[in-house]
């Protein structure tokens, strides 16, 4: 991560340098023009430079045209060309001596030829114009920022409204099933706050507890990031839904040992890859649920057939068929330990802790364009959750199923131990070496030479004993082998 950040920073700096040089070049140009104007002042006063002045006049004329067309603040230009002004006025208006214009015979000749060529209008650089229009990039930026802020406020409020609509719809059902509805974990007493915890502008939590069978239920309302304009724009390309994620932690005695999941095929494939328990216990690909009357969109992942048979009773099938469009995944597991951890070397010496859990993920209908009314359609799904809790408690595997389940779990544990065997050996080895080192240090640090000798002898004796034991063991093994 850190190297990536440094790399990105390093890339940006030379690129900006090259663009900075560009700016310097433009500044140089300005200085050049300014020099020309300085000299133009002096040349107009000098008579010797009169022959040069026709050309000067022409260029200054053009500049002047430009000056008059553009808005006022051309004070600098007009001051420099005051002399030119006087001369131009003279050439254009009639009642003046012709004698004065002896030197300017070239001019009438010059101007027709000039007229043939197209007049090149010199562009006055933007920074010399003092108008708001030249700051249009800045105005664009500020407008963009204001749009972002507006979207933030609107998105935040919408998510808030949706969350409270959901809670109002479900409050009654939850309060009739749980003693504690809403807990922020900070209060000293365990009293129902009756409110959602707002974690984020788009994530709301609710903790319910105090029911038979389960320790507690955590409901997470994961809305879309409506407060972030970038996310809103990305969602226009790829539509997504708000999600309601429910995690029920069961009591140990209230659930038998099985792993089971049902949901959309895509979700199950993803879960099978990500979740530790599904990848270990449900090795087959998700099977179609058509056998049980489920719609084609839903698939089943199960540890053994008996579990599927037991789980797919009439009421469950009814729930799953009627609300199939809102169900993303349903996952029951007694070995749930979360997603697979990225294994670093030498770290995994113990199996991760498992908890008996029921997990539900529901999609809110509307696919992003939800209104608070859509939350009512999720109420039957909550009833399904409550029904599943009771069902998980009632459902018990028969003897065969239980034996299979135990075998599976033993197999998984063995595999894990084998994998970590090498690591555990290394860990034990390093521990032994550390002990030896500590002892040697102690011996070295002993000042009294007598004590030193005694400790050394004791260490030698211990090592000899160990060697003897090993030799005995080898002999025993050889004898047994024979």
């Amino acid at each position: 991560m850190k190297t990536l950040h440094i790399f990105i920073a390093v890339l940006f700096i030379p690129w900006s340098f090259s663009l900075a040089k560009y700016d310097d070049f433009e500044d140089g140009d300005d200085i050049m023009e300014y020099d020309d104007n300085d000299f133009a002042e002096f040349e107009d006063v000098n008579e010797d430079a009169v022959t040069d002045s026709p050309q000067r006049i022409i260029t200054t004329e053009d500049d002047e045209e430009e000056a008059t067309v553009e808005l006022e603040g051309q004070d600098e230009n007009q001051e420099d060309f005051d002399d030119a002004d006087a001369q131009e006025g003279d050439t254009e208006s009639e009642p003046y001596d012709d004698e004065e214009f002896e030197g300017y015979e070239e001019k009438p000749d010059a101007s027709p030829s000039k007229n043939k060529d197209p007049i090149t209008i010199v562009n006055v650089p933007a920074h010399l114009q003092n108008s708001w229009e030249s700051y249009y990039m800045e105005i664009l930026m500020v407008t963009g920022l204001l749009a972002y802020i507006m979207n933030y406020i609107i998105g935040k409020n919408k998510n808030n409204r949706l969350a409270h609509a959901w809670f109002n719809t479900h409050r009654e059902l939850l309060e009739s099933n749980f003693a504690l509805v809403g807990d922020d974990g900070i209060n000293k007493e365990a009293t129902s706050t009756g409110k959602l915890n707002q974690e984020n502008e788009h994530v709301y939590n609710l903790w319910c507890s105090g029911r038979v069978c389960c320790e507690g239920m955590l409901i997470q309302l994961k809305f879309l990031k409506r407060q972030d304009l970038l996310n809103v724009l990305a969602r226009m390309m790829r539509p997504a839904s708000d999600q309601v994620q429910i995690k029920v932690t069961m009591n140990d005695e209230d659930m038998d040992t099985y792993v089971f999941a049902v949901g959309t095929r895509k979700a199950l494939v993803r879960l099978q890859k990500e979740m530790q328990d599904l990848s270990e216990f449900c090795s087959d690909k998700p099977k179609s649920g058509a056998k049980y009357g489920l719609p084609d969109s839903l698939a089943i992942l199960s540890e053994m057939g008996e579990v599927t048979e037991g789980m797919m009773d009439a009421k469950m099938i009814h729930f799953l068929t009627h609300y199939a469009d809102k169900i993303e995944s349903v996952h029951f597991s007694d070995q749930f330990s979360g997603p697979k951890l990225m294994q670093e070397e030498g770290q995994l010496t113990k199996l991760p802790e498992t908890k008996k859990t029921l997990l539900f993920t529901f999609n809110v209908p509307g696919s992003g364009n939800t209104s608070p009314k859509d939350m009512e359609s999720l109420l039957p799904l909550m009833s399904m959750v409550i029904y599943s809790i009771d069902k998980a408690k009632k459902f018990r595997l028969n003897r065969e199923g239980k034996q299979k389940a135990e075998k599976n779990r033993a197999r998984v544990e063995e595999n894990f131990l084998k994998l970590t065997h090498v690591q555990r050996q290394e860990a034990a080895q390093s521990r032994r070496e550390e002990k030896k080192r500590a002892e040697k240090e102690r011996i070295m640090n002993e000042e009294d030479p007598e004590k030193q000798r005694r400790l050394e002898e004791a260490a030698l004796r211990r090592e000899q004993k160990k060697l003897e034991k090993k030799q005995m063991k080898m002999k025993q093994i050889k004898v047994k082998a024979m």
């Binding site: 920073a9 940006f12 900006s16 933007a126 990039m137 920022l145 974990g185 029911r211 038979v212 972030d228």
Partner: protein
């Protein structure tokens, strides 16, 4: 149906371990924070106006995506840095920004 509620078996809410989940779930606010700081430093030192403006945008995006557990101090500091980058660029060079095209 009997009342399924058991007030005696109430368990308190324990927020899930805050170490592993935030980094895994969504790195956007962290990336945006870092980008914002990089851009504002570029804008300040190399006097590039567009860098400073992008830094302001990055810090806004980082704020919108931030998690509740994150420090407001860090948000505010990145905000202030990006706004100061914009202000300094304009103080040194009041000319308007030129588009790249």
């Amino acid at each position: 149906m009997a009342d399924p509620r058991r007030p005696g078996r109430v368990a308190r809410y324990k927020p899930p371990s805050s170490e592993s989940s935030p980094a895994l779930e969504d790195p956007t606010p962290d990336y945006m924070n870092l980008l914002g700081m990089v851009f504002s430093m570029c804008g300040l030192m190399l006097k590039l106006k567009w860098c400073a403006w992008i830094a302001v945008y990055c810090s806004f995006i980082s704020f919108a995506n931030s998690r509740s557990s994150e420090d407001t101090k860090q948000m505010m500091s990145s905000f202030m840095l990006s706004i100061s980058a914009v202000v300094m660029s304009y103080l040194q060079n009041p000319q308007p920004m030129s588009p790249p095209w």
